[in-house]
Symmetry: C2
Subunit: 394 residues, 2 copies
């Protein structure tokens, strides 16, 4: 047998990060490579109690087929929360997805023809970029500056390319940079999207994890023309293993997403939807998130202060006010991949910047650090080792 | 804003069955329309106990991100069961999917270019047909006979169309007909697939629900050339709300499916994967399935005997040996859609045959009955009403 592979999947490889993780799976390695939330933030006892309750009170509901759009009470709770946060827009719909990732994947499937363009922040989240690639997207990167995407570069592309269909951004505590787009740029970005008739994908899995500074309104909260598809997730505020996310956006596109979801996984896991719904109803989600914020704020501050103490001056890095990541930049011309290799040899893992780029084959002088999963001791030890590696190899 | 919709999604509508269900959602309606397993078969107490156990013993595992391919112990258990059933093939891989549906969806995404052909049984499962449509498949239907797909018609298409990439079949207790493909036809089908270098999708969600007759080996169990992608599901033997299925198949295709899954939902819900794994480990799945078989056997026999007693002679129907469905055929030229409408007026719901066809716009003289969710009283009452409707309207 000779097997046919579709043109769009032919060139797709598994995430390089994922492959790298395999080489990094050394016992006792200090890992700043992942993007996992801290298991300390999982409300285990609450989930355990709620699982008992819902399986006792409504077993058939938890275990039978359900509606593609999602469990209705959970949709209503998500919308109530979006209203409280000022994100909800009249005229937008909400569906529950199997993690935030599925929302992105179904939305791009609903909109994009192969050869159409998606503008992305450079660097950006590899899971989104790879999803877009599987639908034949032409990815055009726009550099991320300290206050977010360079909007002049963005407009240049919008002017010259009439096949731009989507602008994909993580405006708040961006993955991988930790950068938050300024209010001014957000407003300008919206007006450019309206002017050029391009839909914005606002991916906001980290938005609630602010541990410092002032809240900046989401794009969706200021979206007067219904140009924004807003993607949320329970992965970082409840638990990723439950695979729960949601999309709040444009009805014309949501309608197609529901059809695409129906043939993709019929509906999102009901047991965990019902658990999440009960959790939102009976537990104090704001107090819960406050604890997660405090933890991540502490971890980030510790990592930054160790980096300040030990890193050589030629390493520049972001100082995030929330989220899970710090982005480090080495002098021009240095390929961070070599540093990562040396780091793993010395038992410290992190991710080279090339993984987050539209062209992953080009050398990149940046790398990403995650601070959410290691203990204080390991953060101190790991940053010390990494500082030595940087000094020895540059 | 003017919204762009992708060419493949532009023509997609929500499942007509689903829309119909809304009009059928009358209080007290007797529904033979769904395809749900009976909630009586859900092992609620076991799941409840296991949920406590796994959330106590391994909370982080249940709640953290996991591996795209699936929870390793569950993969091993699925493979062990496939081995016991003779279905497992050396040289094939296994992944856990978010329901059986996701396996189909990812596999076709991995293989198909828009404009490629998929041969399907006619009638067939609308969820699969719609998934294929969203990837731009040209669907060519081959009539289902009493012993399965007409293989002469199949070969005609294979001979004349060099873009056939997939033959999609539900060989055992087919949805919607309840028909099982004969061993002879299965062997011939395999040899045709080898000869024309076409991959077979063997969808087998009902295979374990045999309540009568002799077991017929799956295509995969006889697949010497690795041409068969085998799709299994926990929906009908454990519970659909958990969204658990698996694919066992060709490594070259599975590898792309894993990449597609990673950008689709990252991984399948871990809480329910761990619950299913623990259930397989500690509970007697064979005894459990035996009870489901007994229930469905009883319900099917009751429905058939009521149909035998009350249906007018001109209605022909299948006599399934397993699964969830009976397929009824009216005289040529009658459109079953009219009968369905009359049925709903009299409080009995079922699905017109056109929904299961490659061309859904054509009138169809068939309809599908499901017997798994109604009580004995309702089956007797509903078939009585339906018999009256048939007599009055033909």
């Amino acid at each position: 047998m000779k097997y046919h592979i579709s043109d769009t999947m032919k060139t797709m490889q598994g995430s390089a990060i994922r492959e790298m993780f395999k080489t990094m799976a050394k016992p006792g390695i200090i890992s700043f490579a992942g993007g996992n939330p801290s298991p300390l933030t999982f409300p285990v006892e609450e989930i355990k109690e709620i699982a008992q309750k819902v399986l006792t009170e409504m077993p058939s509901l938890c275990l039978q087929y359900g509606i593609t759009e999602g469990y209705t009470p959970l949709i209503e709770q998500v919308e109530a929360r979006l209203k409280k946060q000022g994100i909800y827009r009249e005229g937008s719909n909400t569906i529950i997805t199997t993690g935030g990732q599925q929302g992105l994947d179904l939305a791009v499937k609903s909109i994009l023809n192969p050869g159409d363009t998606i503008i992305v922040e450079e660097p950006s989240f590899i899971g989104a970029l790879n999803s877009f690639r599987t639908y034949g997207a032409v990815l055009k990167g726009v550099p991320v500056e300290d206050d977010g995407m360079n909007l002049d570069k963005l407009e240049e592309i919008l002017k010259s390319d009439d096949r731009v269909r989507i602008i994909y951004v993580i405006p708040t505590f961006q993955n991988p940079t930790g950068i938050t787009m300024s209010l001014e740029k957000r407003k300008k970005l919206l007006s450019l999207a309206y002017q050029y008739n391009v839909v914005i994908f606002e991916d906001n899995p980290y938005g609630e994890l602010r541990f410092k500074g002032e809240n900046v309104p989401t794009l969706k909260s200021m979206d007067t023309e219904n140009a924004v598809m807003y993607f949320g997730s329970f992965s970082k505020i409840l638990a990723p293993g439950l695979r729960l996310g949601f999309t709040h956006g444009i009805p014309e596109i949501m309608e197609k997403m529901v059809v695409a979801k129906q043939v993709n996984d019929v509906h999102t896991n009901l047991l965990t939807q019902v658990i999440a719904s009960e959790w939102l109803k009976t537990c104090d989600i704001d107090a819960h998130i406050a604890k997660a914020r405090e933890l991540y704020g502490h971890q980030c501050e510790l990592m930054l202060s160790e980096m300040d103490k030990h890193f050589p001056d030629f390493v520049k890095y972001t100082r995030p006010e929330g989220g899970l990541f710090i982005w480090c930049t080495l002098p021009e011309g240095i390929d961070a991949a070599g540093i990562v290799k040396k780091g793993v040899e010395k038992n410290v893992a992190f991710v080279p910047g090339s993984n987050f780029m539209t062209d992953m084959s080009k050398p990149c002088n940046c790398f990403r650090l995650n601070y959410s999963t290691m203990t204080d001791d390991k953060i101190i030890e790991g940053i010390g080792i990494l500082a030595e590696v940087l000094k020895e190899n540059l």
